[in-house]
């Protein structure tokens, strides 16, 4: 099994890094299918990380996960109040929510824990080993010996696929994303649908943030979201607004990041930033149609009522 050792530890790292991306991107898929692009997703991730940390100190690690999801949902609610309810520009509003979230999470963190630079130690969420499946060589430990957040991400894939493409509400939601006018004429409540979709994305992005503080690191640091929310938006593009594609794309981004650590260990001179750039380049290629048709929802980013 020794020859599998390196591959196996690479896969463990790749899946671990992919989980927060998958969670945030699966939520954002729903939001974008409803026609709302939330650049403020990064804000939900960092609030999720801080909410997770504070929640875990008060209620233990699982309470922390719930608090993180809730904090991410609150940040998304702020975004939705402006971008959907007040009908302000989605991009500018999202930028504001991201900037403000990075600032105010830092402010809350410093007022609670000081700016001493002493690392905060948090209770972490343990991994759950799935009986039998975890015994599969190589992929078993990578996919089936993870924290509960990973299993939630796996579960979301079929659930969201079913919801978006097999239910009436999913159809209505996609209609809102393709043409808010047509959906409105058909009696679909556009504003309410979009608000709910955005808040859902905030909850999963918050959970992604809590994963960063309570599973991945066991601590909180300012700006620890490090662009994960932005990356999730790229993941949605590469995954072509489809839950199955999105989770595969998240694995690909996670793999590229894990490869960086693996390569650094082998040979420090390898140009690993180029590996990190690769998923973004491929996302652009996907948008340019290199891998067949890839189209954003028609009404993505559009105001409602139309401006």
């Amino acid at each position: 099994m020794a020859e599998f050792g390196a591959l196996s530890s690479f896969l463990v790292a790749a899946v671990g890094l992919a989980v927060p991306l998958a969670l945030a991107a699966l939520g954002e898929t729903v939001s974008e299918r409803a026609g709302v692009i939330n650049i403020g997703l990064e804000g939900s991730v960092i609030w999720g990380a801080l909410g997770g940390a504070l929640g875990a100190l008060a209620l233990g690690p699982y309470g922390g996960l719930a608090a993180g999801a809730l904090a991410g949902g609150m940040a998304a609610l702020v975004f939705a109040a402006f971008a959907v309810w007040l009908n302000t520009d989605q991009i500018i509003t999202g930028t504001a929510v991201t900037i403000g979230s990075l600032g105010f999470t830092g402010a809350v963190f410093q007022s609670r824990f000081g700016a001493t630079g002493l690392a905060l130690e948090l209770p972490t969420v343990p991994a759950w080993e799935v009986p039998l499946l975890a015994q599969i060589p190589v992929i078993g430990p990578a996919f089936f010996d993870q924290a509960v957040t990973a299993y939630l991400a796996y579960l979301l894939v079929p659930v969201l696929g079913w919801f978006l493409f097999r239910t009436r509400r999913g159809l209505s939601l996609r209609a809102v994303g393709e043409s808010p006018e047509a959906a409105n004429s058909a009696g679909v409540p556009v504003v309410r649908t979009r608000m709910l979709a955005v808040v859902f994305a905030g909850l999963t992005a918050g959970l992604a943030g809590a994963h960063l503080s309570l599973v991945h690191t066991g601590t909180f640091a300012e700006n620890m979201s490090a662009g994960k929310g932005f990356i999730a938006i790229a993941v949605v593009v590469l995954g072509r607004w489809n839950p199955k594609g999105v989770v595969a794309a998240a694995l690909f981004f996670g793999g590229a990041e894990a490869l960086q650590f693996a390569l650094q260990a082998v040979d420090a001179d390898l140009p690993y930033p180029l590996f990190l750039a690769l998923p973004y380049v491929l996302s652009l290629a996907a948008l340019a149609g290199w891998f067949g048709r890839s189209r954003a929802p028609e009404g993505l980013g559009s105001a409602w009522p139309r401006g």
């Binding site: 692009i37 650049i39 402006f82 007040l86 009908n87 302000t88 520009d89 991009i91 500018i92 509003t93 930028t95 504001a96 929510v97 991201t98 900037i99 403000g100 979230s101 990075l102 600032g103 105010f104 830092g106 402010a107 410093q110 007022s111 700016a115 300012e222 662009g227 932005f230 990356i231 938006i233 790229a234 593009v237 140009p271 930033p273 180029l274 990190l276 750039a277 973004y280 380049v281 996302s283 652009l284 948008l287 340019a288 149609g289 954003a296 993505l300 980013g301 009522p305 401006g307």
Partner: protein
């Protein structure tokens, strides 16, 4: 967003938004247990307290925001949602350093224009991909320009760790550019460099272009309604979109070139603390008016310069400044919407 002009003057909108921001920020500071008056006073002293604080800190920090703010304002005016100023700035900084380092013996009169032109060209080049995808394939520029930011960051990381790494090989940064390539001081005895003047000149030139020339009229027409511009049959929208994209990228690239030639004198990872994103707030608060961008860039430069003093003198962590920036954007959006609601829902812009 609306590009329609209101009876409410832009200055009044901006002032209302700033007042609202101050009120909300004061409430939040009080909630966080800090006396808001002390915090604002310290911030103000840090930004405007002495001539040197104002010139060497506020104006120096306003310079990259001025240029990226102009870049964003120009693009948004044509309804080109360029979120990629951050990446274009990095491309520009890299190009300027590469050119300056490659011309070690050249006189300043040659190397400075060469470096700045290279920066502008690199910024335009970085914007050309998303521009081609928008005009040729109808792919929205919000996502593509955002993705290009990350490609630029990693490219910069790769270059400063590898091909452009300093010759002594200690830090992940480039060699210092030759002294001839340093931008001269604008005001002797201060740290303010020529880049600020470059920004001012571009602001005036852009304003003249937008308000006084047929090209500027076409750009504003496309921004007001791309379809109407096409249907009018007078001109095609696509070349206008290309122009706006490339010019916006060039000005953002110039911001990077000016920063390395005027302040840091070398390129390293994390050159920009997110100027390309703050620029969106700068441009928006200025209502996309190039002359007003000068004022709003100084406002945000002051926030950045005063943040340190606020932390030192009033004990308010500097990160609050980022929160205040966000409040400014949300306040502008809200004031804008409220005005439109007051003006009547039927004519909603």
């Amino acid at each position: 967003m609306s590009t329609r002009s209101h009876a409410l003057t832009p200055a009044l909108t901006a002032a209302t938004a700033l007042l609202a921001t101050l009120a909300v920020a004061a409430a939040l500071l009080a909630l966080g247990g800090y006396p808001p008056g002390d915090a604002f006073a310290a911030l103000f002293r840090g930004a405007f307290g002495t001539w040197d604080r104002f010139v060497s800190f506020t104006l120096v920090r306003a310079t990259p925001l001025l240029l990226t703010g102009l870049a964003v304002a120009l693009a948004f005016k044509a309804r080109v949602w360029n979120i990629g100023a951050e990446g274009q700035l990095h491309a520009g900084a890299l190009a300027a350093v590469a050119v300056a380092v490659a011309l070690p013996g050249a006189p300043g009169l040659l190397v400075i224009p060469a470096a700045l032109l290279a920066a502008a060209a690199a910024g335009a080049l970085w914007a050309s991909g998303p521009a081609a995808m928008k005009t040729g394939m109808g792919v929205g520029e919000v996502i593509t320009t955002l993705l290009m930011n990350f490609v630029a960051l990693f490219m910069a990381q790769f270059l400063v760790q590898g091909p452009l790494r300093e010759s002594r090989g200690v830090f992940n940064q480039t060699d210092e550019i030759p002294p001839a390539a340093h931008l001269p001081d604008l005001i002797p005895g201060t740290r303010l460099h020529l880049g600020f003047l470059v920004g001012l000149l571009i602001a005036v030139a852009l304003w003249l272009y937008l308000t006084r020339t047929p090209g500027g009229f076409r750009l504003r027409a496309v921004g007001a309604s791309p379809r109407a511009a096409e249907v009018s049959g007078r001109f095609r929208a696509q070349p206008v979109v290309w122009l706006a994209f490339l010019a916006s990228g060039a000005v953002a690239g110039l911001a990077g070139g000016v920063q390395v030639a005027g302040v840091t004198h070398r390129m390293y990872e994390g050159l920009s603390p997110g100027w390309g994103y703050t620029a969106i707030a700068v441009a928006l608060l200025a209502r996309l008016n190039p002359l007003a961008v000068v004022v709003t860039a100084i406002v945000f430069g002051a926030l950045s310069a005063g943040g340190g003093a606020m932390q030192r003198d009033a004990g308010v962590p500097e990160v609050w400044v980022r929160g205040i920036e966000a409040l400014v954007i949300l306040a502008v959006l809200t004031v804008d919407r409220s005005w439109q609601a007051l003006a009547g829902r039927g004519s909603r812009g």
